[in-house]
């Protein structure tokens, strides 16, 4: 069946197989996140989706991003999720019966369908094989012929240097904010009657 599909879409066979398999994995993980009752199962489905997206990155010549996705997203962010799930003890299953707003689920599904139809309609104009460089007027590939990492590095550290520095500051702010948020409130206040010169411990 797949050779027929490859002929229908006029694409390389391996390319089609990779896309179909990775796409199935991505969608299965997505449904797993939404439909899983246990949050830990949802986190595992999220990891599945992230790996599928990483494979799709590789098949689109975005090697560095695929590796960073696996290391940062699947390796750090989802682990953080699991830490918090275990810390808060929310690994009990959520009851999907009661819903405060009765119409929320049907309206959510209807809106989701609307968004999907709109996005598919917008992306439908992009079907077809990748166009050549000459047929895209005004678009020149950035640093053609260089490796993916070199292209990325050259662009980030020259054209987007300011954004890079700002995101570095953002990361520092995030770390400081996390430390502040994690502090327990109201710990060891100085007794008001005490004439001690000790500073109020926080």
């Amino acid at each position: 069946m797949t050779p027929v599909l490859a002929e229908v879409f006029d694409v390389g066979f391996a390319d089609l197989v990779v896309f179909v398999v990775a796409g199935a994995v991505v969608l299965a993980g997505g449904f797993g996140v939404v439909l899983a009752r246990n949050p830990v199962h949802a986190a595992l489905s999220l990891i599945t989706t992230l790996f599928g997206v990483a494979v799709l990155f590789v098949s689109q010549q975005a090697d560095f991003l695929a590796v960073v996705q696996v290391i940062v997203y699947a390796g750090a962010i989802v682990v953080l999720f699991l830490f918090v799930i275990m810390l808060l003890g929310v690994d009990k299953e959520e009851s999907i019966a009661a819903e405060p707003l009765k119409a929320q689920r049907p309206v959510a599904l209807a809106l989701g369908l609307l968004v999907l139809v709109e996005l598919v309609f917008l992306s439908g104009i992009h079907f077809g094989s990748i166009a050549d460089v000459e047929s895209q007027p005004g678009i020149t590939p950035t640093d053609p012929g260089a490796e993916n990492v070199e292209q990325l590095a050259r662009t980030i550290f020259t054209r987007y240097l300011y954004a890079f520095e700002v995101t570095s500051v953002l990361l520092v702010i995030a770390v400081v904010g996390a430390v502040v948020l994690a502090r327990r409130a109201g710990v060891t206040r100085q007794r008001p009657a005490s004439p001690s010169t000790e500073p109020v411990s926080r």
Binding site: V34, A42, L46, A62, L65, I77, L88, Q136
Partner: protein, 119 residues
């Protein structure tokens, strides 16, 4: 044997003459985005809602990379994904810190419980 064969396999997959156009990738990203959006609206566990936000961010990343490739290898799409990854990581850190700070003492955190924060 497999480590030797792996670059050849990867090259065989990636250097195919005919490649899939951007359309199927965009449709897949649209589906993933819709799944994340509906999940965010339907689920009430705060952490699962957060994971649905991550699904949507991944869909957007996939769209960026697809357009980066379809615009004749313009690297700026991948730069955008890079920054989205960084900001998503920072956002997850702060979001989970907030969730831990709010729901530290109660069992079974759901978004419905946030109404008790009303003054």
């Amino acid at each position: 044997m497999l480590p030797d064969a792996l670059p050849v396999l990867v090259a065989a997959v990636r250097d195919q003459p005919q490649t899939i156009g951007p359309g199927p990738y965009l449709v897949l990203a649209a589906l993933l985005f819709t799944i994340g959006a509906v999940g965010l609206l339907v689920r009430r566990n705060v952490l699962v809602m957060f994971m649905c936000v991550e699904l949507m961010l991944n869909a957007v990343n996939l769209t960026f990379v697809t357009f980066s490739r379809s615009l004749a290898g313009d690297i700026n799409g991948q730069v955008a994904v890079f920054f989205v990854l960084v900001v998503a990581a920072a956002e997850v850190v702060i979001g989970l810190g907030i969730i831990v700070a709010i729901f530290r003492r109660r069992q079974g955190a759901t978004a419905d419980d946030l109404h008790i924060l009303k003054g």
